[in-house]
Assembly symmetry: C2
Homo-oligomer: 393 residues x 2
């Protein structure tokens, strides 16, 4: 068991009436002039953006708008946001959208008070010591960024997609109205659930097997999400199950399911190269990688994969054959991914196999030219990364 | 499902090395002059109090000491603390101990900046709008006060024990070193686990049965705590299981296991009268009340008690006899309470039956002379309270 630090200060305001509280919340957390940051069409079309802006204005707040954040959010948009906030004297960032918009807002929040180039934080050159307050009106449950300290930005100059984590960027509040997720298409819904489950799976596969309470909480997250996704794919307006998923996305990634254990995160690192190169949906990319990662590493601690198979995937435990049970757990999640419309390898994801050249290029970038290893469950060197991409191709 | 607000900003610093960080944490959260608040012998004898005071002094902080907090903490001690803090210009309250010490610290924190009488908040006459920052070095996992917004104070003038909840008193940080719980006697250990499980059970028994994710998290808490207590009763120095219990006590009461559901809290209200009148250990008092409460109310929604029996108490589900399954769940927790040395009724708790006069007096106070009802699962009037005390006597 590892010593740990758990810090999830974000105030979650959840439910059908939650949006009404936005102006009071911004003021409670010290905002006067708000950058309302958003993506594209859906926030406009649904009327959510107008509603939020009106509520903020009626609450006596000044607002500045910045839209156009894309999935795998770009550094250029972050730069645009930093300049705009400085010019307008913005003191609060409100992201209206999903993980990409929140991540973009976090990067802007770091950048505004920083004299240097914001990419310094993401490239590991500097640590942020202060940032503007960030909060969100969540519309896509998936990334968990609404309660997390993490953000991931893509630098178009070199297709480099990297994350930076710092507690100071944990959002002040998150408004979550499950009705806002009714219009999410099936593919985005399934990819979102895949992403949130993976946030907990990256923590669950560990050699710190003595933290039984963390395991039980993680299994509660995984089992519930796995169950609820079918209901919302069948009926997109199933409030009850949309709500479980929306709340599950936050809990899956606010740190709770990793307390006391060494975490892994290889699948995320391997996927980041995939989406940097091919601009795929992050959750779908994770589904395309994970089964190959699992088959590459399961022998490091078979009992852990048995526990996953039995406690999460409902595979009957063949006590005489732990390895068989472990492998059936990996097969079971492949069946689950297919059942919700997710790929289980890269050619299902892209519609073609990747080439040896692409494999080597992704492993090169993921390993920083061989300089770093990734993963906690099994430390992966560049050649391991290549092997996994090859298994997954 | 209810709309909900989840807010648990306390930074948890957990593990064997956690105490070393105390001075940095106090300074990070704005403290300069610290009231170190504690109970009695054990914090002194174990050397913890000295260690914490030395670390604070070495960190450049001034300290003022106030010990002598007793279980079911008293208003007179709170008054003493308020005067001391004002006189000394204290700006931060550090509780070293368990729930009683933390609750006493919260009450002092409300009182220092308040011009009126601090009891106003507990008697419902006023709402606190500001308070000094509070934090803790936890030594007894049970009350969950280290992450909660609640505190319970006993006014000796009339033996009135009441709670007051306000988010502003949520502790800034909680230092948790499981080793500090090795010396807890078996009775205190078992009563602590009973208390933490009850914090989640008060939320679990609800008619909002559509919040399956909250259920799954609650069941994870209950199953893990139920399992771990046997290990630590057998071996008090079992770090692994002491750790699960310590962390479980916080999660059981930080709000997570009640998201989206109407909560009950009758058993706590009924027990408060019991410990106000007889000064018993809170957890043991809860065990003495709950089975009778359960048998009095289970018909309000039998399926909920079936779920508890099957998912928490491992009772085989007799699908043809839900009522039988529900009742076997209640029996199963009685067996569990006996197995860990807890009472299952009031005469086991006190060594004698309570009188009709005592029953009527407790119900009178619990119902505010018949003016209020308690409970969410079943609304209990004064005569219901009497009936439950009578069943439990």
């Amino acid at each position: 068991m590892k010593d740990f630090n758990y810090y999830a200060p974000t105030q979650v305001v959840f439910g059908e009436q939650s949006e009404e509280k936005v102006a009071d919340l911004v003021k409670h957390y010290g905002g006067h002039k708000v950058l309302v940051h958003y993506g594209g069409k859906s926030a406009v079309r649904s009327g959510l953006l107008d509603k939020i802006c009106n509520l903020l204005r009626e609450g006596g707040l000044e607002i500045v708008l910045l839209g156009g954040v894309v999935p795998n959010p770009r550094l250029s948009k972050v730069h645009e946001g930093i300049e705009l906030c400085r010019r307008e004297g913005v003191d609060f960032l409100l992201a209206v959208g999903g993980g990409s918009v929140i991540d973009s807002a976090k990067a802007i929040a770091y950048g505004v008070p920083y004299a240097g180039e914001v990419w310094d934080f993401y490239s590991g050159k500097a640590e942020a010591v202060t940032c503007l307050p960030v909060a969100s009106v969540l519309t896509i449950p998936a990334a968990g960024s609404e309660m997390s300290e993490a953000s991931v930005i893509t630098n178009e100059d070199g297709d480099i997609k990297v994350g930076y984590s710092n507690d100071i960027s944990r959002p002040k509040f998150a408004i979550m109205n499950p009705r806002r997720t009714f219009t999410l298409p099936p593919y985005q819904t399934a990819a979102g659930v895949t992403d949130m489950m993976m946030h907990t799976m990256e923590r669950y596969f560990t050699h710190d097997t003595d933290m039984t309470f963390t395991d039980a909480l993680a299994e509660a997250v995984l089992r519930t999400m796995k169950d609820c996704v079918f209901a919302v794919l069948k009926d997109p307006e199933d409030y009850r199950n949309r709500a479980q998923i929306m709340w599950g996305g936050s809990i899956a990634h606010n740190g709770l399911t990793g307390c006391g254990v060494e975490e892994d995160w290889s699948t995320h690192s391997l996927e980041h190269e995939l989406s940097a190169m091919f601009d795929v949906t992050h959750g779908a990319g994770l589904a395309a990688i994970w089964p190959s990662w699992a088959r590459y590493v399961y022998k490091e601690e078979i009992s852990r994969f048995v526990q996953f198979a039995v406690n999460v995937m409902d595979v009957p435990n063949d006590f005489s054959d732990p390895e068989g049970t472990a492998l059936r757990g990996i097969e079971a999640i492949e069946h689950f991914y297919h059942a919700i419309g997710m790929p289980i390898n890269i050619h299902e994801l892209l519609g073609r196999e990747i080439t040896e050249e692409e494999i080597r290029e992704m492993a090169r970038k993921c390993s920083h030219d061989g300089a770093i290893r990734i993963g906690g469950f099994k430390r992966l060197a560049r050649e391991d990364m290549e092997a996994i991409y090859r298994m997954a191709k």
